[in-house]
Structure formats: C-alpha cells, structure tokens
Symmetry: D5
Subunit: 147 residues, 10 copies
C-alpha cells in the first residue's frame, strides 16, 4: 500500500530519506509516455551553499510500474537542502527513477538558472528511444539574456 498518497506527510530532508513509490501501470499492454514538468526544483551548490534552481522535465515509458506522483513531488522537494553539482544532480534524479521503475525508456531535461551569466542544461536518456512510441519534443525555450 502507498504510504504517502492521501496521507499527511512531512518533507524528506534529503534524497536518501525520500520514499519514491510506484503503482502498476494502468495500461500494461500499451506503450505510452508520461511527462512530468517540475518548474519548482531547487538544490544547493555543494561548494558555496548557495541555492540553485532548475526547471526539470522527465519523460518515460513505463514497463510494469508508474511512479506515484505525490511521492515524486516529495522526492524532488528533498533536494532543497542537499548539495549537488548540476550535471551530477540531473543524472542522479533520472537514475533513481530508473532504479524504481525499470522503465522501457526514460529521459530527463534539466534547465538550470544561470550562474556567472551562463546557464547549464543537462540532457540524459537511458538509450535510444523505441521507434514506435511517440515522444514529443520537450521544447523548453532556450535561455536568453536581455532585450
């Protein structure tokens, strides 16, 4: 049974403490894509302790499981006081979901706010996407300066 959905919960204080949960995919025979868009992500710079912010988009093709969305939200919240570099953090989130869900395919796009005037985006997927599943572009606008 799910331990968080429909229950009062407290925010996990680190990714390790967070409990990601899964439920059976409702259309097991169908290969569909689920996209989560999480524009409220924040973590800390492991060197300076300054807050970092990112807009994160996750796409995946379930096999047996889909992620329970309240637990996903709490998991993302758990980075709030956690220090991690951009490249590392982005791929780590995806890896944790892969471990939980054993999906047919998964990708993450992490669009970080600029530091030093230069934002970093990180893009990772588990491998080439299957050709017969429809996966639209994430189409997050590129960063621009001013004007």
């Amino acid at each position: 049974a799910l331990s968080q959905l429909g229950q009062p919960t407290t925010n996990p204080t680190s990714p390790e403490e967070a409990t990601l949960e899964r439920v059976p995919s409702p259309h097991q025979g169908k290969r569909y894509v689920v996209r989560f868009t999480a524009p409220e992500f924040t973590s800390l710079c492991p060197v300076t302790g300054q807050p970092d912010f990112a807009h994160i988009v996750i796409d995946y093709i379930p096999r047996q499981w889909i992620v329970e969305s309240k637990s996903l939200k709490l998991y993302l919240t758990s980075f709030r006081n956690h220090g991690a570099f951009h490249e590392d953090c982005s791929v780590a989130i995806a890896s944790r979901l892969v471990e939980l869900l054993d999906p047919e395919w998964l990708r993450i796009g992490a669009y970080w706010y600029p530091r030093g005037g230069i934002p970093i985006d990180v893009f990772w997927q588990t491998g080439a996407p299957p050709e017969d599943v429809w996966i639209p572009s994430q189409d997050v606008p590129g960063y621009r300066g001013r004007g």
Copy 2:
C-alpha cells in the same frame, strides 16, 4: 443513420453511455490525417472527487471510417462527472476511438493542468506512424511556472 448530428441531444452522463458514431471516410483511397483539438476537457479525480482539466489533441489516419464530430464532442463531455486517473483516462479515450474506427494509426496527446505544481502529459499512439503520411508536430507549449 446518425442519431445525434442535427438532432437535439442531451449530454451522456458517463463514457459508457455515450454513443460515438462514425461515417465513411470521404477520400477512401487517400491517406490523410485528421486532428481534433479539444481544450475543454474535464473529468474528476477518482480519489478526491476534485475536478481535473486537460487540453487534448487527437490525430488519426482513417481507414474506412471517420468519427462524426458531434458524437466525439458528446463523448468527451461524458467524462465531466466520471472519475479516472490521468494516465488511464488519456489512453482510454484513444482506445475507444481505435475500437470504433479501426484507423490505420491514431495518437493522443493529453496535456493535464498541474496538480501539486507538476502537470502530467500523456502521449500514446497505436504504433509507429506510416512513413509516407504527413503528421505534423502537435507542438502544444510546455508548462511553465511563473515569470
């Protein structure tokens, strides 16, 4: 004969009650795509009973049949007081149309309004699209937060 087009109708109270109707495709020898964009979709959360909203786009390549559009509208309206999870509901709509139309190919993009600050999109197609039919991108803008 069609039972709903050009007739006064009442809203079906559940998807099961709705009568989806079909008419012969007007250009049987031609493989074209029909796109419906339905920004007025709403259903209920099966757990909390709260309303959910979605912008839905359906593309298909008819074989013998095309869906009669008034009956499609009534079918989509029938989810108004029906409870279903996002992933489930999105794929169910597509499946019902596949059953009715036996199309060469069909896909659905369901772009749900955010819950917990994180919207879910669901993308499903019946299989790889045929290579010689033109299927433009749905190009629905991604969700953003504020600013």
Copy 3:
C-alpha cells in the same frame, strides 16, 4: 496564353467553374518547393449552410508546371458559396492541384476554425516526400482556447 493574369476577372461561383492555370516551371532542372499560405479561405457547411473558415497552406515540388497564382487565388475564392465537409474539401483542393500540375510531390495543411469548441485540421500529401528536397515544417500554431 493565360486567361486571367493581368485581366479583369470575375469570381468563379463554384470550384467547377474556376479555371486553374499553369505556367512552365522556371528552373526545370531544379527541384524546389513552392509554398502558398492562404489565410482567407471560406466555404459553407453542406448541412447547415453556415460559413466555415480555414487557414490553408500548400507545399509542392513542381515537375514541368507551376500554378499561376492569380488563378489559384480565384480557385480558392470559388469555395465561398460552396458546401463541403472539412475533410472532403481539404483533400479536394489538393487533388485538383495534383491533377493540374502533375507535381513530383504536394501536400496541404488545412487548419479550420473551431466548431463546437473543437477545431479540425486536415493533413494530406501525395506520398512520402523525396529525401533530397528541403521541405520546412508548416509550423502553424495549434489551436488554444482562452487564457
């Protein structure tokens, strides 16, 4: 000789009456694409007689002929008092051009205004486009509701 270009003309009152004309392609050895964008298309609903509107985009690769553009304009104008369903009308326009031009390839995108809150788009092409000709996306924005 062309019968309409540079002449006073009257609007043809039906597609059958319209005279589509062609001239030799100016770069016969070169395979290029010509795109027409016609945002001023209107016809009638064959059932209710109510006006319908569409934004239409046509792309084609000429073989020997290109369409004379004034005659194309008059041809599109001829649907003004003509009744036709969306799917039918969109493919019919393309078919008439194919018949006239015998192009290497042709496609039409017809982006109809909403009826019952749900617009219909129709996409058709003569077949898979040749791989060594450049055909940009039509990139017409999707329909949205309000907000």
Copy 4:
C-alpha cells in the same frame, strides 16, 4: 475558525451551497492588490445544458478581509453543474466576493471559450480604482481563430 482549510472537504454542488470564507488581511494598514487566476472554470449553459468554460482573473484590494483561497477554489468548483449565462455568471461571482469581503475595490475578467466561433469576455469592477494603488493590466491574450 475556518471550516475547510486543512480539512477533507467535498465539492459543493451549487454556488448556494458553497461556503466562502474570509480571514483578516495580514497588512491592514497597507493597500495592496491580490490577484487570483483561475483557468479551470466550468459551468453549464442554462438553455442547452452544454458545458461552458472560462479563464477567470479576479483582482481586489482588501479592506479588513481577504478570501481564504481553498474556499474560493471550492466556490468556483460549485458552478460545475450549475446553469448560468456568461454575462450573468461572471458578474455574480464578483458580487458574491464583494458581499463577503467588503473590499475597497474588486474587478473580474471572465474570458469565455468561443461558442458559434465568437468568444465573449466580461469585465466588471466595483467602481473606479483608487489612484494610489498599483493594479497591473490583466493582459490575457485576445482570442484568435487559426493561422
């Protein structure tokens, strides 16, 4: 005490049944504007029973009270199975809030989805806004057809 915030609630089945609640304004000496943007509004056409949809934006300057936002959400939800014309419904929502809050000033912009190809917007305010309070434009994009 508040009866709905932080409590399990059920959706009120009509506007009359909904309990709008208020709490004291946190900065009584300060004249500020609160804006709610509610893109998930739906009601029924009182004549045909067909669903209507609107994107609603409310601005107000509190005097003693601010509206409790969960109760506002439930109030807006209560129109789901309620029949009302566009002009009537838009002004009625504003009137109910005025009655509850006795605000210094309040306005509503209701941007309805098109019917018959022509959307209706309704704009109402309690009177001329005070000159020394800052009230930004709602700046909801106008409706466009296609193309």
Copy 5:
C-alpha cells in the same frame, strides 16, 4: 420572444435582412463591459467584388439591453455577399448595434487583412469611455510582413 435563438435559422442575405435581437441586461445596476471577438468576418469589395476579410472586436457597456449572441453572429454573417469599403463597413456595424442597444458606450476595432501589402485598421467608439468602468486593451497584434 426571441425569433432565432434555439431555432433553426437561415443566413440573412444582406445586413438589412438580418434581425439583430436584444434581451434585458442581467445586472441592470452594474456597469460591465461585454467583448465579442469575431475572427470570421468577410464581406466583398464594392468595386471589384473580391472578398475582404477582417478580425473584429466589439466592446460595449449595456444600459438596458444586451445583444443576443446568435443574432449577432447571423448579422455578421450577413455581410458575406455584401459590398462595402473598410472604413464604412466597420463603422456601420457599430452604428447598427448602437441603434439596437442604446448602450452607455460602445467601440469597434476592425483589423482588416492586407490589400496591396498594406492592411487597414479602423477604430471607433461612441465617445470617451466612462472613467469608472474597466475596459481592457483589445491588444490585437499589429500586422507584420515576413521574417
């Protein structure tokens, strides 16, 4: 009683034949604005007989009456085979509504499609708008060429 709403109707063949109808304003004590956006307007050039197209936006503050929207739609449709110059036609539509409704205030913005590469817009209002009624900008994007 209304003669067109909820009845089968035929399209009036000229503005003179069209029957604009009115109903009592639902909030007589309240001064609100109603906006209609009609992107499907077409008429004929009185000189050449060529079709003209416009995107039309009408704002008004009712006194006793509001226009019945189906009759407005049919009225606008009645210009389909009617010849009129841009400036004339735009102001004539507004004048007819003023005559019908005796509104406190009314304006029309008519955004015509380009002829000779140069579109014409026409803006008219009955007089200075009342200062204590909220009338948002129509904010229709300006015409641009290409690029």
Copy 6:
C-alpha cells in the same frame, strides 16, 4: 475623379511626382481612427546611396477627407530611389498627409532597420490626441539583437 484607383499606373519616381489623392470620409459625423501598416517601405541613404528599410504605421482621425489607399501605396513606393535621413523622411511623410487631408489628428511611427547595430525609431504626431477618440497602441515589437 480619382486618377489612379482602378487604372493602370506606373510608379512615381520621386515623392514630388507622386499624386496623393483623397475621397470624402464616409462617416463625417463620426470621429474614427484609420491605421495603415506599411512594412514594405524603402528609401536611400542620402550620403552613401545605400538602401534603407522601415516598417511604417500611420494613424489618423479624418475630418472631411480620407486618403485613397492606392495613391498612398504609390506615394510610399516613390521613396524607393529617393535619398533622405531617417528623422527627416519619417516626419516628411506625415507632413504630406497632413497637408492633403487636414485631419483632426495624425501620427506616424517609423521603425527603421538597424544601421551600425542600432536601429532608429521616429515618432511624431500633430499634437495631443483628442480624449474622446479611441487610439490603440501601435505596439510594434522593439528591436532585439540575437538570442
């Protein structure tokens, strides 16, 4: 009688040679605004002879006369081989129209393409606009560099 409308014409080779023509305003008692948007303007730099380009928008309130639009188009075309500085040319066009039309009010916005990386815009009006006539913003997007 008009000398150019509905006649074959040749392009005037300088502004002086161009014949701007006027016709009576169709709604003499009504004070409305006419906007022309001319994105195809080009002239020459009087120093270097290099072509300059501008997007020009003209708004005016007719008194007795409106400008005949074909003659306006030909007038604008007459700058094609004419040398003039940006500030000078922009105000000169407006002045010529004022002389012809004796309008109640007129303004011009001239949005020039960049030279040396810095575009110049010129804005002029005959005086403060009348308060009871509705004159929407021209709202031409500002220039931006890249990105």
Copy 7:
C-alpha cells in the same frame, strides 16, 4: 563599510538574521527607478511546510540610498526555510526595504506559482508614484493553464 560585498558569506537562516545593506545613491539629484527581477524566490507554507515559489519584481525610486545588491540577494535567500503566507510575505519584503532605504517610492510585484490550480499575485506600492518619474510596466505574463 559593507560587510558582505566582496566577502565570503554564509546564507542567513531567516529574514531576521539577514543584513540588508545600503550605499549612497550615485545620482542624488536625479530621480531614477531601479528594478530588480528575482525569479529564484522560495519560502515555506506556514501551515503545511511545503515549499512555495515566486517570481518577484521590485521597483523603487531612491532618495539618499540604494540597496547593495549582494545583500538583497542574501536577504531574499533567507526566506528559504521561513514560513509565511503569500500576501504577508510579499508585503513584508517590500516593507523591510522601505525601512532600510526610505525611498521616495517603492513597489513589489510577487507572482506566485499555482497552488490548487490557482496562482496568487500580490501587488503593493508605497503610494501613488510621482508623475514625473518614468516607471515602466512590469509586464510579467499572466498565468495560463495548458494548451
């Protein structure tokens, strides 16, 4: 002397701990506006402890002092683990700056991410802005749902 600029600093753990600093305005005789745009703001819900996010824009006209920008950044960061309601928090930030700077005028626009599908914006200014100082619109896009 400034205690934070050009020094290593740690993040203050609450707004009370943060040290906002000021420096003399560089153009004391000139009345100009300074705008800060802070899209990386986050605080906690005082009831649930869940993170809240906002895009914040601050405009002010200095009298003797301008705020030192590193100290402003650290002050905004200090809300990271602080609980406050939207209306309260938005006005509190502005009030703290007013206390520090004694500006001629100041305003804040706080554009919060949606909760329950309905975002709240808060707008406050110290009073009517002076008429001879130029204060551009903040022009932050309104929230939209999907589609």
Copy 8:
C-alpha cells in the same frame, strides 16, 4: 585581392553588374554551416514593375571558399531595380552562389511578402544535406493574416 571590402563602393545596378567575391574558408578541414539572414531584400515585379519584398535566409557548407559578406550584400542590393518572378529570383540567387563557391551544399529559403493576400515561399537546396553536418531549422514564422 578583394575589390570591395574596406573600399568605398557604389551599388551595382543589376545582378549581372554585381561582383560577388570569395575568400578561402578559414577552417578547410572542418565542415561547418554559414547562415546569412537578409531581411532587407527587394526586387521588382517583371510584369507590373511594382516592388516586391522578401526575407531571405541562405545556408551553405563551404568547400574551399566562403563568400565575402560585403560583396554578398551588394549583390542582394543589385536586385532593387531588377524585375524577376518569385520562384525564378529565389533560385537564381542560390545558383549564382553555387557557381561562385562550389560549396559542398547550399540552400535558400525566400519568404516573400503577400500579394493578393497569399504569400509565396520558395525553398531550394543543392541536394540532400550531408548527414554528419549540423544544419538547424530556418524556423522563419509562417505568414498569418490578422487577429
């Protein structure tokens, strides 16, 4: 040696008179794409003598040579008083560059301003682009009418 760069020049009066010049590609071993965007193109209609305007984008992969950009600008300027049809002119520009540069690959997109309400775009490339060179979309927005 180059005859035009860094020299005073006069505008060539026809494409034939223009001197396109080339310089060695600076990274001979590297296969890169150069894109020129020329929004200031104008020519004449060969039938009516009326000016035509286009936004032109050229992409190419140099082999030994790149085009000197001042000479390209003068070449494009040389069409100012030259008559040519849209399809013809667009392909002719590309052909002239191919002749000069002997590039590995080249394409042109010519986005013409509307005539008769219908703009024409012309797209041509020398052949299928090489698969291992990166050629981004030109992504010029489609034409739209009004609204």
Copy 9:
C-alpha cells in the same frame, strides 16, 4: 563640420575621450521623438573588472539638435574598457546626451544582464514628458529565469 561621419575612425578608449557630435534637427518646428535601441552595450564592473552587458534604449525630443548616430555608436563603444556600476553608468550616458543636445526631454532604459541571478534595470528621464508628444512604451520584455 562632423569629424567622424564618413571618416575612418578608431574606437575611443574611454567615455571621456569619445566625441559626441550633433547636427541641427531637420524639423525644428515639429516635436518628434527619436528612439535608439542599442543591444550591444558592454562595460566593466569597477570592483571585479568582469564584463557587464546591457540592452539600452534611449528616447528623446530634440530642441535644436539631434545626435549624429555614428558618434553615438562610438560613444557607447567607449565604455568597453571602462568600469562603472549599473545605476551610475546608465544615468551618466543620459546625462552626457542631455548636456550635448539640450533636448526638450530625454529618457534612458538600461536593461542589464543578470548578476547573481538578479538583473537590474535602470530607468531615468529628465522630467515629466510633454503631454502632446507621442512616446510609445519601450516594452522590452522582462527578465525570466528558465522554463
């Protein structure tokens, strides 16, 4: 006589060295606005020596003089290796132009690229603009983060 226009020039190495030049306003009796948009501005941080960037827009109403645009460009270029704070630099540019031109009115909008994730904009004008001169909004988009 002008010392820089039409002459070879070298970049001035500091604002003090730059020679801003003026020429008589071509329409002395007419009160018009000139807008310069300079998206290529860069200076240095006076503390760290790091480059800063800004998009700058200047509007003014000439009295007797207009600024010669090549000299303006060189003046702006002269900040390239000059250290100045954002607020100071923005107002200083405007002040220098005021001194040169003695304009009826002038304003500057300086839209700086973000530092520490928070961009600063500076807005200054010489005083309230005259009421009968038309001064459009600068309408530079606000900064946003990501997403």
Copy 10:
C-alpha cells in the same frame, strides 16, 4: 587541482592566455549532453577593430572530462580584445574545447549580431551525433528586421 574556481581571478587578455580547465565527468558510464548558453560574448573585428557580439550555444557529450564552468567563462571573456572573423572565431572556440575535453561529440552554434543589416550564424559539430544520445534542438530564434 583547479587554479581558478573558488579563487580570485583576473580576466585573461587573450584566448591564448586563458586557462581552460577540466574535471572528471561525474557519471562516466552515462552518456549525457551538457549545454552552455553564453549570450554575453564579444570580440573585435580584425579589420576595423569594431566590437562584434554573439549569442553562443555549446552542446557536448563528455567522455572522461567535463569543462570547469568558471574557466569556460573566463575563456569566453578572453576574446573581448581579440580580433577574429565570425566563421573563424566560432569554430576556434569549439576546437579548443575539443582539444581540452576529447568529448564523444561537440557542437557550437554562434549567432552573431547583424553587420550591414545581415547577421551571420555559424554551426559546427565534430561529426554526426550518436543516435542513442538525446540532443534537443538549440532553437535560437532567427534574426528578423523590424515590424
């Protein structure tokens, strides 16, 4: 050890002097893409000494190393007083990174500000990208003129 990160640094005065540094990729087994967006790039024209500006986007797939971002920033800053042609400079930046990082794949898009009204974009990649790594479009908007 890194020589620049977390240390006070001075700006290198030429690309040769700049010290690009690398650190081990945090997810060696994972093939991800890192994107840097640098809208603050400026160099000098090698012929005229005039400043050039570009918006630069770099994508790469690390093998063993990722570039340390502060050193990348300083490297890009080092072009500030360095003369180089657009095509040359763009490819040189990419080449230097390839040399440092030995990446699996790398590309650069350099979007230069217009000179002579015509901007140049340069696109280069090390070769065909691997098929099973996800590389989103850079999607930088094309240049447009005005209007």
